[in-house]
């Protein structure tokens, strides 16, 4: 299998990669936002401790 063929997905690349791309984007965004929230929550705690 060659890569051009793989990415074209039989001419339906837009739909297939539009789906996979959105999926990757959304979970990446969730992970980033959750890390920020966890850091903020940790800072909150350190504020209480000091």
């Amino acid at each position: 299998m060659n890569w051009a063929e793989f990415f074209s997905m039989g001419g339906r690349g837009f739909y297939v990669w539009g789906s996979y791309g959105a999926f990757a984007l959304v979970i990446t965004l969730e992970i980033v936002l959750l890390r920020l929230r966890a850091k903020r929550a940790a800072a909150l705690l350190n504020g209480v401790k000091s």
Partner: protein, 244 residues
Amino acid sequence: MNLYKYASPVTFYPLAGKMWPWFATLAGLLAVAGLYLGLFVAPVDFQQGEVYRILYIHVPASVVGMFVYLVMAFYGVLALTLNTRLSAMMMEALAPTGALLTALALWTGSLWGRPTWGTYWVWDARITSTLLLLFLYVGYLALVHAIEDKRRADKAGALLVIVSSINVPIIYFSVKWWNTLHQGSSVSLAGNAIASPAMRWGLLLMTLACWMYAIAMTLVRVRAIIREREGDAAWMADAAGSKA
């Protein structure tokens, strides 16, 4: 073993901290194996061609998006009957991931619908009830954050989720009860809609990966929620001291 012990945020906080990396690692490994099978090994669908490969993310997102709501309803019952604080926190931790997966189920379904049905959107029973599920997730989060008094917010949220969880079996059975454009269950034990073992395994691994991802996200989020809500409790300082 005393199960009540784990219903307390004090004991659950460090436990969740130890568990989430395992679930996250499993999610990653399962996704790599599942994507490999789904995108490279599994044969092309004889009717739809390559575009059917959306299946490997559409079905996991839909299944886990629906089931997370049932898990929330289960915690809702615990929150109302046993009055455990952690149950309500778990509900709040589960909701954002459930909402995102449901949104992805709709998005990927829409992109799959266009080349196969000729339309991005159709108001059929399954798609409409899935859209309702997304609104319920958003509605729950809005409700819980709108009420100042946390105890009242938790109770109202639990009640909303328990009552509206009836929507989940409606989504599941919608393809049988109504004449929908959406196809029936792809993975039925009786049928053989998915014939190739690579297809079946790819789908199974991707669904498990999605599950492990949802669990990891929930565990990390519930820790943040515990800190946000109970950060001033003395035990938190100890928990933070031993492992941040």
